[in-house]
């Protein structure tokens, strides 16, 4: 089957039921998308399908169809750049394991809502768990990225 990932089309052969997460990791070596819980509860595997954040660990690859997949490696919008800069400026990451999922979710938020209130940020990222507790910095970094973009 054909998969459109990060702007390129790939021919992959995988069982129809194989989750998108494992196709990305095994077939396309896109390992920035992490396995955390396997049941869609932690958000470490968040990718975008047609720009919307989804849990790649519970989406069978056959359900993707011709929708565009965007992983952390392919995030390249102005929003993504601003977020990465803010992530560094606020030293958000600790162990970093969940951060790809956080960024993918945050990028979607900023495209939908250019000036998100803290409550909107919390609501958009509530499914992305971080055991290190980087949440306060995530909120600040997203606010900061938004204001950079709106400048």
């Amino acid at each position: 089957m054909k998969l459109k990932v990060n702007g390129e089309t790939h021919d992959v052969s995988a069982p129809a039921t194989k989750p998108l997460l494992w196709v990305l990791r095994d077939e396309l070596s896109l390992t920035g998308t992490r396995f955390g819980c396997g049941v869609g509860q932690c958000g470490a595997c968040t990718v975008q399908l047609s720009g919307e954040p989804v849990r790649a660990c519970v989406i069978p690859v056959s359900a993707v169809g011709d929708r565009e997949i965007c992983t952390v490696e392919g995030l390249s919008t102005a929003q993504a750049d601003a977020l990465r800069a803010a992530w560094s400026a606020h030293a958000v990451a600790q162990c970093g394991f969940c951060q790809a999922g956080q960024l993918v979710a945050a990028e979607n938020l900023l495209r939908r809502t250019p000036r998100p209130q803290p409550d909107a940020i919390r609501s958009a990222l509530r499914g992305n768990l971080c055991r290190c507790g980087t949440y306060a910095r995530i909120v600040r970094a997203i606010e900061d990225a938004a204001s950079r973009l709106n400048r």
Partner: protein, 770 residues
């Protein structure tokens, strides 16, 4: 070996026999410095045997001993039992490389070490590279935990950096024919008057100079101001993290690797009766199954019996495992609630003495206040799942796995799988959250066993359910306290008994005292910090029932929390402000010596504890907060010497405990990396929120009931309170922050909830407590 000359310095501490693993105070100030040419982590293995050790010497307990040519490896082999090494090198291209003896798991230790080297050698931090030490004997008994890394590591890293710099200085002085005192370091260059040379030009000459004795090397003070100045530079790993390119354990990829998913016995010590793989075989990618016999718990390095399903990738292995039918026999039928009930009973019986002071007998007929607190078993639940990659190559076992104790895994492979000491290497990539779980090595040993059994390179991956079901937990415990107060409302006599599951009794029973005492349960009792004249503290380790391990703040999350909850109850009984009540019991003007364990005394300053409390009260606006929803707590971590205070304010309208804001003040000595230090406290806050409010592992009939984050709730971004963190300016040496705030914040939350409920707390988590 490349044609670049590489000059390296190795600092090797040899602590005495009665040491706490990795505890900086226990690591005696004796050691050796060695140096030589031509080392990097990658090529050292190959070159060491034929390389000549040019110069080295030892000081301290071992006396001055020149190592003969080529005996470095053997020499370090003899003295590695409890040591930790620092290696630092500079090459003729000017690349400075630190081989870190501590692993990175989000706590920022590599970044902190990099800053110490940069600060000490007057280098931009970006020019200092950090690589991770393997389990090779020359790196000593590697271990990362107990909040010890900065407290124990900063001076060694500084000494190595200062020694290297001194050699470069002497090399410059010789070249310019001036006194070495006339040469100063600035931005990666040696400068004397109008002359200046970059370090790299001086490396070759420096490598021919004799190594200065440690006492002759000036170690520059860690200046908070100049440490601040480097804190805005790009942090290690951040770029890789935000681009998704950082490689954790699971990103290890070997050419002929197979993937394994292990169905483990649902009960401890259960064994396999039969395996039916007929349906599993139909799963595409399935390769086969293999039985892991495991060993009998309790034991050091327990591995559960299981059936490993091998497949060409992890998803296929998990799918095939789901189709596998395994019949199990036997196993322990422990039950977490009954075990906690038994602990409650045991607090009514006698305990093993930890600390007695004054005349701790209660006055006949006096009123004695009493409380007991029940602490459940807790999971670490890092987001990165456990797993490891193992391969045998030319009779050598190599394991790649994020591991807080690579030497423990190394030793277990030697002991359990019959490999020679020098035929094992454990490499630790960055860890996606440790919290104590990766001080254990079961996941690594499983992979090594599978590699040996199959002859293939095997990568294991635990599912989330595996992480709970085969978890090793924060010991379930019960504390009981009693106090008699004076008419003026001061504590005259305090008794504290802690009964709990004992990690030592489970893993290292030979290290219990003859009477069964577990020193790891006693140290936090012994670190009790309030001024109370008459004390009797004792403890009782339970016979092992449920598998336990170290967990962020282990003993302190029971002992300190119980103390801080009881202080609030006593204050309430006097209608006293809980903050003032604490200050009333911190009046010593002079430092006190706390006797932590045999041969291990620590200085405690009531004044510092008062300062963190008063500052937290001021910053939080304590007196203006509604008494019915505010909570305060303090905590002293004896090792490292960290003083912490927290004030919590609950949300107004909530029927369940919801935290509105939290203020934390810490005195952790000189702060090396302010942003990283604050991040550690933020992390503690979230650990404490989950443990205080929701988390509890339930084991019924020997089987762990929790299987997902739905039944072991982690704090989310919506649970994050407004947080204000403040570090007191300090001249004390840097201490540590990995754990100390967890018990303090847990206590402050519980105390606020007690104030809200107007009734004492008796058990955790608070949401389950009625």
């Amino acid at each position: 070996m490349s044609d670049r000359t590489l000059f390296w310095i190795r600092i090797h501490w040899s602590p005495g026999p009665n040491t706490r693993p990795f505890c900086p105070r226990c690591l005696a100030e004796s050691g050796e410095i060695a140096c030589g040419e031509g080392m990097t982590e990658e090529n050292l293995e190959a070159t060491l045997s034929r390389r000549v050790v040019l110069r080295s010497f030892a000081v301290g307990a071992v006396g001055v001993a020149f190592l003969r040519r080529g005996v470095l490896e053997a020499a370090s082999d003899r003295s590695v039992s409890l040591s930790a090494d620092v290696w630092l090198s500079i090459d003729t291209a000017g690349r400075v490389e630190l081989v870190s003896h501590k692993v990175e798991m989000g706590q920022g230790i590599h970044e902190a070490f990099r800053r110490i080297v940069a600060h000490t050698m007057s280098l931009p931090p970006l020019s200092v590279h950090v690589v991770q030490a393997s389990s090779a004997p020359r790196y000593g008994n590697l271990g990362t935990g107990g909040s010890f890394s900065i407290a124990g590591g900063h001076r060694r890293v500084q000494q190595a950096a200062a020694t290297l710099l001194e050699l470069l200085r002497r090399s410059a002085a010789k070249r310019w024919n001036v006194a070495s005192g006339a040469c100063r370091a600035a931005d990666g260059r040696m400068v004397s008057g109008a002359r200046s040379l970059p370090y790299r030009v001086l490396v070759e000459d420096a490598s021919h100079l004799p190594v200065p004795k440690p006492e002759s090397v000036p170690i520059p003070r860690l200046e908070p101001a100049s440490l601040e100045a480097i804190s805005s530079s790009k942090r290690l790993y951040h770029e890789a993290i935000v681009s998704g390119s950082l490689h954790y354990s699971l990103e290890r990829s070997e050419p002929d690797m197979v993937c394994a998913s292990i169905e483990r016995s649902p009960r401890l010590n259960g064994s396999v009766v039969s395996v039916d793989a007929r349906d599993a075989e139909k799963v595409p990618g399935y390769i086969g199954w293999i039985k892991l016999v495991g060993n009998q718990w309790p034991t050091l390095d327990h591995v559960r019996a299981g059936v490993a399903v091998l497949a060409k990738d992890h998803w296929s292995a998990q799918q095939a495992r789901r189709q596998l039918r395994v019949a199990w026999r036997g196993g322990l039928r422990s039950d977490s609630e009954s075990q906690l009930d038994a602990m409650v009973q045991a607090t009514r019986e006698s305990g093993l003495l930890a600390r007695r002071e004054g005349r701790p007998r209660f006055t006949p007929n006096a009123f004695v206040a009493e409380a007991s607190y029940r602490f459940p078993y807790l999971s670490h639940s890092a987001i990165e799942p456990l797993g490891a990659t193992a391969r045998i190559e030319n009779g050598r076992m190599k394991v790649w796995s994020g591991c807080q104790r690579q030497r423990r895994l190394h030793d277990a492979i030697v002991r359990e799988l019959g490999f020679a000491e020098d035929r094992v290497r454990v490499y630790s990539p960055p860890i996606g959250g440790g919290f104590g779980r990766r001080l254990e090595i079961d996941y690594g040993l499983e992979a090594a066993m599978l590699a040996k059994l199959t002859g293939r390179c095997v990568q294991t991956l635990w599912t989330r359910e595996d992480d709970f079901r085969a978890g090793l937990f924060r010991p379930g415990s019960v504390s009981r306290l009693q106090a008699e107060l004076t008419p003026r409302g001061r504590i005259r006599t305090l008794h504290h008994r802690v009964v709990g599951e004992s990690v030592l009794a489970q893993q290292l029973p030979q290290t219990l005292a003859a009477d069964g005492s577990d020193w790891t349960m006693c140290i936090h009792l012994n670190a009790f910090y309030y001024d109370v004249p008459n004390l009797e503290f004792d403890h009782r380790p339970m016979a092992p029932a449920l598998p336990c391990a170290w967990w962020r703040g282990t003993g302190a999350t029971v002992v300190q929390v119980s103390t801080e909850l009881f202080m609030d109850e006593l204050a309430a009984s006097q209608n006293a402000d809980p903050l003032q009540f604490r200050l009333n019991h911190l009046h010593s003007a002079r430092p006190k010596t706390l006797h932590i364990r045999e041969g291990d005394d620590v200085e405690f300053q009531s004044g510092l504890m008062r300062r963190v409390l008063v500052k937290a009260a001021k910053l939080s606006g304590w007196s203006a907060l509604a008494p019915s929803r505010r909570g305060v707590a303090a905590g002293f971590y004896d090792c490292p010497n960290t003083y912490t205070a927290a004030v919590v304010s609950l949300a107004e309208d909530s029927d369940t405990p919801r935290i509105d804001s939290i203020t934390i003040v810490s005195d952790c000595g000189i702060v090396i990396d302010r942003s990283g230090a604050a991040a550690q406290i933020e992390s503690n806050v979230h650990f404490a929120i989950g443990a205080a409010l929701w988390q509890k592992i339930d084991v019924v009939d020997g089987v762990v009931q929790n299987t997902t984050f739905r039944d072991f709730r982690l704090a989310t971004i919506e649970d994050t309170p407004r947080t204000n963190i403040h570090f007191l300016r300090s001249e004390r040496p840097p201490s540590g922050l990995g754990e100390p705030a967890t018990p303090v914040v847990t206590s402050a939350i519980a105390n606020a909830w007690r104030a809200r409920l107007q009734q004492p707390i008796r058990s955790f988590p608070l949401e389950a407590f009625e």
